[in-house]
Amino acid sequence: MHRHTHLFKKTGLAATVSLALTAALSAQAEEKVLNVYNWSDYMNPEAITQFEKETGIKVNYDVYDSNEVLEAKLMSGGTGYDVVVPTGAFLERQVQAGIYAEINHSELTNYGNLDTAMIDKVSRHDAGNKHNVPYTWGTIGLGYNEEMIRARLGDMPVNTLDLIFKPEVAAKLADCGIALLDSPAEVMSIALNYIGLDPNSEKKSDLKQGETLLKSVRSSYKYFHSGKYISDLANGEVCVALGYNGDILQAQGRAEEAGQGVKVNYTIPKEGTLVWFDLLAIPADAPHPEAAHKFIDFILKPEISASISNYVYYAVANKAAEPLLNEDVRTNPGIYPSEAVKANLFTQNAHTAKFDRILTRSWTNVKTGR
């Protein structure tokens, strides 16, 4: 509904502009509009206002809450979006499908601000980073309720996946609630890494081992869901969740605000976990590629990047922004982990369609206890 109004207004505006200025405009000139499609709660709204003021470009801002939804839209074609923010493994496959335009790096004056180590990691998904500019990055780790965990585990260290993958430990936590992301590729890669296998393995035998591990602890899990754990951690409905760092920090904030004495923490497990990158990309059929480049370049400014990181509690891959970050963000090991912890993180690659099929089945088997 919302979206349609935008499109309608946009075409209306386009018609008037082209009528009035037909002769005067060169072929390249585009209307001063930008359609951004980003994750929900993933942008500092002030940054958008500032961009509009500086460039005179009107930003239409829409949000989604899963890569799958974004992908389904992009795969249908003709979305009218100029900037989207897929996660690495998704972008990898979408580039294969020819969904994205190449980024014109010469138009990005601030590209040099980016962390070269990060750019290098991202290039696993997109050779030469031709189709993306890193936006934010984060980890999947454990969010836990301090008090409930201590009551059940004593002073056992909590920075370990034993909490959710070791049957005898998980069983102790079953009554206070364990939640896992409902994201087969990500959780399976973390499980495979936990048992010492290649997290990106597409071997059937490896998948089987991962499935066996998850089945052995399944009865201790409360549910698999990719969003519910935020509020459930905050109000004590679950005591451990395998989830995205920013979401768990959000739960921490909510718990503090509620003032019910619930204390939520985030930890990156010592066994290593998955690091993901959300990437700015321009669809091949974007109606306003020029504005899209301007917007991406604007985001790469150190002060804008820092303001976004301060606002969304996710790390930005912007070296120049780091000194400008708020103290509590910069020193939070859940957002900007130490180099030693970073060395232990792995990326998850895009899978083949064939593997996705057996992975989904294996995942359904785990979830439904078949």
Partner: protein
């Protein structure tokens, strides 16, 4: 006889004319009445159905859109190639998983339909037996929940059923239980969600059937020595049958394909065909397979229901 036979052709032609006028009038009237819903069905059901059916016969591809085209042609080489892939349907029948998912959905839908009927019947009966001036208010109350978003109402149930929710607090408070019950993320919660959400769809057809029920029949049965329970099963229930069937279909059909309620209230182990379809579409990115699952669901649901409707129609005409 003799008087009418004098001018037979006039009579005949005039009766023919009125007949034709009649037919013409009826046809135009009927057409304009039927055309709108037919057009609606055509545009919003039949054409999308054909599109989905078409996709179900293609193969996945890494492209936009992510499936192959059925038709290939080359005008210079002068050939048209129609390629139909039945593999998706074969796979559906080979793999027991899909059958399980269909059966599990049908079971959940059937159980919830039964309970919806159980709850709705007394409500509809009561409304039909109230004096007609008050019925409007009662019917409005049945429809009133529709004024709030369906999603919000399901979320409200999460508030009721959660561990420290209202139901548990109440039961703990009056001392029936000493440990909070796990109500949310169970099949039980899914049943509650479906019964609650679809209740009006059951109450309304039941009401319209019960409203027509002639009360004198019940009086006559009583006079003839029938006990209330007997007359209920011998008179009320059979006469309400069309309403029961209509209500059950209105609840059962959407409940089989239900996605939102099990996703919010159900546990991760609730296996329903809506979820399988979602997985095929979003996780496997297999649009053809997802389409095949949808088509088979439609056939599994629509065929038996058409048979029921047909049977019912014949019964009524007898």
């Amino acid at each position: 006889m003799s008087t009418t036979s004098r001018l037979p052709w006039i009579e005949e032609s005039s009766s023919l004319m009125t007949k034709y006028n009649f037919i013409r009038r009826i046809n135009w009237g009927r057409l304009s009445v039927v055309a709108v819903p037919m057009l609606w069905l055509g545009i919003f059901f039949f054409i999308p159905f054909l599109v989905v059916f078409k996709i179900s016969l293609s193969e996945t591809a890494i492209a936009v859109p992510p499936y192959t085209s059925l038709l290939e042609w080359d005008l210079e080489e002068a050939y048209i190639n129609l390629k139909l892939n039945l593999g998706n349907y074969l796979y559906l029948f080979e793999d027991a998983f899909y059958l399980d998912a269909y059966l599990s959905s049908i079971k959940i839908a059937a159980v919830s339909t039964f309970f919806t009927l159980l709850v709705a019947f007394p409500i509809a009966y009561l409304i039909a037996r109230t004096e007609s001036s008050k019925r409007g208010v009662l019917l409005a109350l049945v429809i009133l929940p529709f004024w709030t978003s369906f999603l919000l109402r399901v979320y409200a149930w999460m508030g009721f059923l959660k561990k420290n929710g209202i139901v548990n607090e109440f039961l703990l408070g009056i001392g029936i239980i000493d440990q909070p019950l796990t109500l949310l993320q169970t099949d039980f919660a899914v049943y509650i969600g479906i019964v609650y959400t679809y209740l009006p769809f059951m109450v309304l057809p039941l009401y319209s059937a019960l409203e027509k029920l002639d009360i004198t029949l019940l009086e006559a049965a009583e006079d003839l020595g029938c006990r209330p329970a007997q007359s209920f099963f011998l008179i009320t229930l059979p006469l309400a049958l069309p309403g029961i069937v209509a209500g059950c279909l209105l609840v059962f059909i959407p409940a089989v394909g239900e996605f939102v309620i099990p996703a919010l209230l159900g546990g991760s182990d609730t296996l329903m065909i809506g979820r399988v379809l979602w997985d095929e579409f979003f996780l496997n990115r297999d649009w053809p397979m997802a389409s095949a699952v949808a088509i088979v669901m439609l056939i599994v649901l629509v065929l038996p229901i058409m048979l029921i409707r047909n049977g019912q129609g014949k019964e009524e005409s007898i």
